[in-house]
């Protein structure tokens, strides 16, 4: 066995869409050698119980995220602006996903 074989596979993030018309939701992560294998693994790990009709996988390395240090500058300013919420409208009963 060469050392090369012992390298760990890269991490992928998995997003599953439960139904046509809904959005993909992050469900977890897994390791795989490449995107194709990641898709197979995602199918085997995250859709065993009828959870989905579509899967996205993306390399975790490729996800750019906000850090804890950005919290105040990013999110605090929206905390006191209730007028941005659409709570002043009546939502029709026939609109289920808002």
């Amino acid at each position: 066995m060469s050392d090369e074989i012992k390298h760990e596979w890269p991490l992928f993030e998995v997003f599953v869409r439960a139904k046509r018309g809904l959005n993909h939701v992050h469900v977890g992560s897994l390791r795989a050698a490449d995107h194709e294998m990641a898709l197979h693994h995602a199918r085997d790990l995250y859709t065993r119980r009828n959870e989905g009709v579509s899967i996205w996988v993306v390399r975790s390395d490729d996800v750019v995220s906000s850090g804890p240090g950005d919290k105040d500058a990013f999110f605090a300013p929206s905390g006191d602006k209730a007028y941005r919420h659409p709570t002043y409208y009546a939502i029709p009963d026939s609109v289920p996903h808002i």
Partner: protein, 294 residues
Amino acid sequence: MSFDDAYDALTDHDDDTRWAYGTGFADPLAGVPTAVPDGVDPADLVAYSLMLGDDALVMSHRLQQWVTRAPELEDEMAIANIGLDLLGQARLLLSRAGEVEGAGRGEDALAYLRDPAGFRNVRLAELAAEDFAHLVAHLLVFATWRLALLDRLSASRDPVLAAIGAKGVKEVTYHREYAAGWVVRLGDGTEVSHARMRAAAEAIEPLAGELFAPHEIELRLAAAGVAVDPATLRPEFDDVLTQVHQLATLPPPPARDAVTTSGASGRDGIHGPELAEILAEMQELARAIPGGAW
């Protein structure tokens, strides 16, 4: 579909499968008539259902033995899923055998209380894989053959076998894809993986001959439009294996002779010591505690 309301067209209101766990399960045999088709000997239908059911049951057990031993957690799940799919096919087929037999033996009695000589699986299913390359080579041969078989079985005159075939096609399509993906990956991989994949493929190939040797029961039922003559599966099988080997940079599979193990085969209940070992493990609990339930 309603066009009055854009949201209505996109969402379902008749179930609760919206988020984490789906519950939209379907019974593959719902509404399927269970009468034995005209002109078919029920004993033949029982034996044939056992053949296909035992193939799935024994192969499923071999796959289950990889749980906790697979090289990666993700592949362990994949192998367990495939084993479970085959176990599901075995349950339907053994239940059908028990139902047509009419002697009060259900799927459990048939799985747990028969001796090796009563099992009609092909001997290929019994093989123990000594490493992961052998496992995927074994699975590729088994799944390629079974997919071709189930695909044709879905046109059977027996509505139960047809429904089981149609359900199985979707499952085994994935099994074949999984196995082929690994054979290509290892074959077209490093020098080490190529050598081990090639050795595994060469070890399994001579055993594929029996898959295409028709048993007299299969021939009788095939003539009645109920079963599949396995000899007809060879062109598709050879095509698929040749393609996979080409992508995997492995030598093409050799031309196979239809000769089998000196006339008698797994289909007749002639098995190697591997099946006895599998059954000792599979049946131990059911035999130790007869009728036990938990």
